[in-house]
Structure formats: structure tokens, C-alpha cells
Point group: C2
Chain length 310, copies 2
């Protein structure tokens, strides 16, 4: 089997590529920019282009059995600042991609959606896939529209589609600009001896999934023969204080977070029900939060040592 | 109160304008084209422009208390032919409109969504507002995304919003190109002594709402002080054969439909549960299907007489 991984040079994508290669899947990567944290991998074909370049996309689909689409031009925290760019860069790009895939006769897609934004404020704990969709960010609204176009393509044109509604992924190679998740942000700041900030009392609970587990789930989604929507998380809640506690366990020296006023838009608790992915895709989570944070810390330190040695 | 009616020269919009005027609401109309079936109304301000012209939209909002948005650049039957145009013309236009409304401090919108496309294949009969949203047309997907942006604008910026998910509206001034509904199409064809066509055995059931009732509902939505999503139909199912029967009751001469093979994409039955609109908005349906078809037939004949006399 050969897969085109869109966004394969990114944080999640690079791990998906690693996992696919380890499972004997041949990989072509399509991304807007080259690998950030490593040299291009031998045996992987790289196509550098934008999703708006449909001619090049068509060429990139030749000889491919399935697409794993992980790219996004926006992140949840900033999507509301320019919803038109969000719609253009992600929704219209997906509609065009589906048209090109139809022409190229590639009839399988695994798509990374968002378990943290499509449901809005949870009415249940944990949140199952059937939970009402009440997003309060452009990011979540666009993800739902994309999911709906995938479902329509399935119904009208037979696309096999697996939608993975990911919770909060973390792990090595995550960006550290402060918009992509607190674990990476905290560890990078600590590695640079900068203070870390907690909004509110640290009780906000999220569902964190290690990127290795998410990569394994993308592979299961590619091969299991199922179609539809699946939550992709750990199924377990961790508070910001829990995270700080785990970080204390692996970082030497004192950690003294700066507590700031709570942010009105932070939902108190979002934990996904992931039983459907386990039962239907045969996927199992392999990394505990303590292990995952230790693993990420090791990577951050290695990066820092490399950068200061360069 | 003064309302801006977007799409106020169209089929539904022109009736909404009539109803608002009859209830003492002052009206400004914004549309891409002038009235088709009548001269401009005295006392109504007309702004002819496209929704992409945000500068002119801002001007059109000055002095207005609420917006009733009825315009669409697409119809369900053809939206899948060009989803990108559907997204650009309707979704992006709405996002821009919401931004301009925020600047202009107009904090109320009644929006016409689609009860026939957002639910997909019904899992219940009748279909309530809480029914899962599984659209299989771009038209329905875009309507849901627009609803979600309205909900977000409500949550984050206090917009009062009433979403009306209309079933199949019919009545005087409906287009007769064959894409906007069978009652108008049948009556126009019969008036011109052309044959009418039935796809399948005529058992397909839909929920038809007379445009006068829908216009009254738009007024209730404007004034009732409620917010959220409401089905807008008759709550009653009528088959194509029922429609043909009612038409036989008012048209002189034989009606002999041409029966054609059924279309795979026609869902057998869609009837809306409209109890929420009745209970919360205090709205009542006033026109039976027999009365409404007779009324529409009268209008078609008058149009034809006018055109042949011209």
C-alpha cells in the first residue's frame, strides 16, 4: 500500500510517516514546507506545494491508494481572527482535493478533525461521537463542514473515509509558539529557564494523546476497513495541575508556575469517549501521560543541546 | 422597528416585505437585482448590490434594528455542481456580513436555513430540530456552517439570531425554471399547455409551506424575542400524487402526468415537526395546501394573461 500524507512534515504528520514506514506502508509526503526537525527521510517521496495547486496535487496522487490529510492552515486559538482565511485555506482546499481525488480515482481518506472544538461545551462526560456539534470557533465550524463534505463524498461517490476527532496531541516535534498545546509550551519554557503560566487555578481538564498513539491510530484507520467518525484521545482527563505535577517528576529544579486570571472561553472539562476507535479500529493506547511527558522532555533537551552546540 | 431584508426582491423576500409593511415595520431591501414581478414599492428603500460589497452593506445597515437574510446564490438541486461557488457566495458572504453587522452594531438576524437539506435522510417522522445533521448536498452543508457561525456570533458577541429551517415553500412569485419546487413548475407548465412529469410513482412526500405563512413566521421570528433554531413547515406531508390531485381540483381540463423512472437521490419522506415555532414564536399556519395551490394557480394565470397582453 502507498499513502499520500498531506502535512507529512508537520508535528503529527512526521510521526505518522515514521509509523507507516515501520509498518511497511510506502509513503509520499505533500507539504508546504520541508521537515523542520530532521533531514528528509530516505525512501520517502516529497512534494512541496500548496493545497491550492490542484495540478500538482493530481500528480501527487498518481500511484497512491489512500490519502492521510493532517494539514491545517489555522489553529483553534486564532481561527476566529480571520474566518475567511480559515474557510478558504481549509474548507475550499478540501472541496478541491476531493474533486481531484475523484478524478485520480483515489477512494480512501483518513482525515484529522478536532475533538476539542467540534462539540463546543460538552453536555456529557466523556463526550461520544454522537454528542451534538455546537462549535464556538471558526476552526470547529470548518472541521464540521469538512466532515460533512467527506460524508457526502462517501454517500454520492463511494469515498471510504475515516474521520479522527483528535483531542490534544502532544509529544516530540510539537511547535512551541504557545498556540499548539501546553505540554510542549511548558517544557520549552522550562528548558530555557523561562517561567510557565497557568490560567485560572489549574483545574481545567483536557484529554491528552501522545503523538505516537495518534500516529498508530492513523495507521489503524488506514487499514481497518471501517468508515465514519472516531474520537481520537486517551479517554482520560488531566488537569493543568496534573500536567505540572508530571513535569515536576522529570524536570530537575523547582517549578513555580505563575498563576493568572482564568480565561472566559476555557471550557472546564473535555474528555473524549474513545471506545469506538478501540472496538472498531482495534487500536490501543500505548503511552501514559507520565511516560509521554518524560519522552517529550528528553526531546526538548536534545533539541536545545543541538541548537546551542550549532 | 426598521428591518433590512436581504433578498427582499426574491420569491420569499417580496412576501416578507409585504407582511412586514402590513405590520407597520419599516423596510429597506438589499438585493442583487430589482423586483421581477412588480414595480418597486412606495415607502420601501432599495439598495441594489452584491453581498460581497461590504462598504455598501455597512451603509445599508445604518438606522436598521434587524436583518432578515433570505438570499442564496445557489439552490439545493444544483449546489453540488460547484461547491466552491456555494461556499464563496453564501458562507464567506455570511461571515463578512456578520463582521459588518458587528461594526454597525445591528444585533439581530433572522436567517432562512433549509429544513429539506440539513437533516439528510430522516431517521424520524416528523423531523424535529434536534435530529442529527447529515446533509448530502453542498447546499445543506453550507447552511449548517452558516448556522454555526450565527450560533458562535450569538455566544461570543451577543447576536440575537433566529434560524428558520424552511421546508418546501411555494406560492405566487416562485420561479418556474424547474429547480425551485414542483408546485410552481407544474402550474406554469399546465398554464402553457405543457406536460408535467412525475419522477417515480408519485409517492415521494414533502412538507409544503405557503409563502404567506413563511412570511408571517419571519415576522414572528423578528418580534418574538426568542433565539435559536426553528423548523418552518406545515408539519404535514403531501405526496406528489396529492399535489397533482389538488391541482386537478382547480385547473380545468385533463391532467395526465408523464411518469418517469424514480431518482435515486429522492428521499421518500421529509416532514418537519413545527411545534417549536408554534409554541415559542406564537406562529400559526393559515393556508391549507388546497387553498395555497388555488391561490398560486390564480397568480400564474394572471401573469400569463399579463404577458400575452403585453
Amino acid at each position: 500500500m502507498k499513502a499520500l500524507v498531506i502535512g507529512g512534515c508537520g508535528f503529527i504528520g512526521s510521526h505518522v510517516v515514521d509509523h507507516l514506514l515501520s509498518q511497511g506502508v510506502r509513503v509520499r509526503v505533500l507539504d508546504r514546507r520541508a521537515e523542520m526537525y530532521r533531514a528528509p527521510l530516505p525512501g520517502v517521496e516529497y512534494v512541496m506545494c500548496d493545497l491550492s495547486d490542484t495540478a500538482q496535487i493530481f500528480e501527487a496522487l498518481v500511484g497512491v491508494d489512500a490519502v492521510i490529510h493532517l494539514a491545517s492552515t489555522t489553529v483553534p486559538a486564532t481561527s476566529n481572527m480571520d474566518p475567511v482565511a480559515d474557510i478558504t485555506g481549509n474548507l475550499i482546499a478540501m472541496v478541491r482535493l476531493l474533486e481531484v481525488m475523484r478524478e485520480a480515482k483515489v477512494r480512501k481518506m483518513v482525515y484529522l478533525s478536532s475533538g476539542g472544538t467540534v462539540y463546543g461545551v460538552p453536555q456529557t462526560d466523556p463526550v461520544a461521537e454522537s454528542h451534538p456539534l455546537n462549535p464556538i470557533s471558526s476552526y470547529g465550524i470548518v472541521k464540521i463542514a469538512i466532515e460533512n463534505y467527506l460524508f457526502m463524498e462517501h454517500k454520492l461517490h463511494g469515498l471510504e473515509h475515516v474521520i479522527l476527532r483528535a483531542s490534544n496531541p502532544y509529544g516530540p516535534r510539537q511547535g512551541h509558539t504557545g498556540t499548539q498545546g501546553i505540554i510542549g509550551t511548558y517544557l520549552w519554557r522550562l528548558a530555557r529557564a523561562e517561567p510557565i503560566e497557568v490560567w485560572g487555578d489549574g483545574s481545567v481538564v483536557r484529554d491528552y494523546i501522545h503523538v505516537h498513539d495518534l500516529a498508530a491510530l492513523c495507521h489503524s484507520a488506514l487499514t481497518a476497513g471501517a468508515t465514519g467518525v472516531f474520537n481520537a484521545g486517551s479517554g482520560q482527563g488531566a488537569s493543568v495541575n496534573d500536567i505540572v505535577g508530571h513535569i515536576r517528576g522529570c524536570v530537575s529544579g523547582d517549578i513555580d508556575p505563575v498563576y493568572k486570571p482564568g480565561r472566559g472561553f476555557d471550557v472546564p472539562r473535555v474528555v473524549l469517549d474513545v471506545s469506538r476507535a478501540k472496538e472498531t479500529l482495534g487500536w490501543r493506547q500505548g503511552t501514559t501521560l507520565a511516560e509521554g511527558i518524560a519522552d517529550t522532555w528528553e526531546w526538548v533537551q536534545a533539541q536545545l543541546a543541538r541548537n546551542s552546540g550549532a
